[in-house]
Symmetry: C2
Subunit: 357 residues, 2 copies
């Protein structure tokens, strides 16, 4: 119940151990095609270039920027948490001129401010679900005001756990991670790219490993299947299985399950004396952040010691704060297979026991 990884679905764990095939085996290519088709359903997109990148969500972020940002390009980045900060750093390493649009940690970005930050940016980038704060940023309203800019959206913590609408929202490049609401271990970055973004790819991006033009020649159905690098076969098995579980449940049903779990958890934490950290109306359900008032903790224990007790006594991991809120907030994930009411019940009961010791 940390901010990710969550527990994988049992079907995923089973799939990881299936007999290994080669990355050019026709049977593996068929499974990869099916995985990409499932990803299109989950991303709500028709983008032909939709696949799982061979790295974690952070590799997804880097791939999104290096393929479309040339030195000197203006990149507007919304920053209200650690992952917006990371976007700035990744864009700077591409030689971008970064224009920051900030909101305090715990508050959402103002979309109008993001759109007004520069008259003609090459790229506008925002994090949909800020894992460091538990805040949802509005993405859908950026589409009509973005002009010629490409829209990059970090969906690491949102995909599968709340509405994500790549086509309807006019998102050009989006990446996620497998270990959050998809219920798969970490290691792959689900990725989708609009045709508009493909037409704006820089030539010979600085990363060979993340060069999407080359990768497209291997991952796309009907492509040359040209070897680029060896796909992480076992992880693709796992993702294929996890997406199967998700689509069998139904995407909307998964969103509703995550929403319900978060709501029950947040109500329970309020009863125990914790204050919500994320602004009302923009709270994530799959990642709850609360301020930990020192006075609710047992005498002599700080928040880190309490988290350690939760882990040691109950086998429950929850997350602490990052950056400016380190030592001040808890971050509790209910994602993928972990998003079950019985887990909420257990966690609240365990915290209550701890606080009353």
């Amino acid at each position: 119940m940390g901010p990710g990884p969550g527990n994988p679905y049992p079907e995923v764990t089973e799939a990881l151990g299936r007999p290994l095939m080669g990355h050019l085996d026709p049977a593996f290519l068929a499974l990869m095609d099916e995985t990409n088709e499932r990803l299109r359903s989950v991303w709500r997109t028709g983008n032909p270039l939709t696949f799982a990148l061979s790295g974690t969500g952070s590799a997804g972020m880097e791939a999104a920027f290096v393929n479309v940002v040339a030195p000197g390009d203006v990149v507007v980045v919304g920053v209200n948490g650690a992952f917006g900060e990371r976007m700035c750093e990744v864009a700077r390493r591409c030689g971008a001129e970064v224009v920051r649009v900030e909101a305090p940690w715990g508050q959402p970005l103002d979309p109008e401010q993001v759109l007004a930050a520069h008259p003609s940016p090459a790229v506008i980038a925002v994090v949909h679900a800020e894992t460091s704060t538990g805040v949802r940023n509005d993405v859908g309203c950026l589409a009509h005001g973005k002009g010629d800019a490409l829209l990059i959206v970090d969906c690491v913590t949102s995909l599968g756990g709340m509405p994500v609408e790549i086509d309807a929202w006019g998102v050009d490049l989006a990446y996620s991670g497998t270990q959050k609401c998809l219920g798969v271990p970490p290691g792959l970055a689900p990725f989708t790219v609009s045709d508009r973004a493909i037409s704006r790819f820089v030539e010979r991006p600085q990363s060979w490993y993340l060069d999407l033009s080359m990768i497209a020649d291997y991952v796309s159905a009907g492509s040359a299947r040209a070897y680029h690098h060896t796909a992480p076969i076992a992880m693709v098995y796992g993702l294929h299985a996890g997406l199967g579980v998700l689509l069998d449940e139904g995407l909307e049903a998964s969103w509703a399950r995550h929403a319900e779990c978060g709501e029950v958890l947040q109500a329970g934490l309020a009863r125990l004396g914790f204050e919500p950290f994320a602004a009302e109306g923009h709270r994530l359900a799959q990642l709850t952040s609360v301020v930990v008032p020192p006075e609710v903790l047992p005498a002599g224990l700080d928040e880190a010691a309490c988290r350690r007790l939760l882990l040691d006594r109950y086998g429950i991991e929850i997350g602490g704060g990052l950056g400016p809120v380190a030592g001040k907030v808890w971050r509790i994930g209910l994602m993928g297979h972990t998003a079950q009411l019985r887990n909420v019940t257990l966690l609240l009961a365990a915290i209550e026991e701890l606080l009353s010791q």
Copy 2:
């Protein structure tokens, strides 16, 4: 039996499905430390910065270059196959001035030529075991002539299957892949870095994801354990288990097993009319390359059709040629768990059946 992935050890398959822990869980950090310690044994190094990078072997290659190559640096690259070519491309994308030292595909590099190519290169880079040709390049003799240059060695196909001596050979940065002679699915790049290389890291490398200074703050025992990106937990479980199998067998015993399998296979293929492609004295045992004379094939079948029949009838994958030798050679891997004499027996019998049909 393709050029990798090989079959994973059963203990690895079992480990992939173990209950997932968080990337900051003390129990996971302990397992990662132990994995890194095992890697030091396999690399034959005392390098403190030895770990598994969160990407495939190609990500390892990119990480090796981007962290030590600044724009304008002279990088000498030995090129006698596809992976030497790839090194040139990766180095160019770092802004390097690349000096190529070539040998024909199938022939080894001349180490003296590599050392004489430039009076003061920043980096010298060679592939130890060329997966595209089945050729071993001599690495050990580069150490004393390299001067101030850093030595980067690609050990993707060599590590675990033949002698690799990072410290004795004076190698500064080396990377491998999990899916070859380590008997683990693809997805991680075992990596090791000398202190000398660390002192030459460029500031703010162009890749954030592969920034070794930041990664070191998480993976190193005794470090701040600062979160950089979410480690691919399940894959680390698998690597930990695979290295355990390898070290239980003994590194020298594993080298000998790979050597014996390759020898028996190469003798058998010669009897069936195939000619070795790699130069004598520099043939890899774990990756056998042979020229496929069209006259040995059954009438009406080309080499690709024969490989497809091997896959469909016997469930055996072998590899075709890359680049200039596409359609002309076969590449047969006997790596990790696949390196067993019974597999050699099966493959030779299957090929014999096919050719006599």
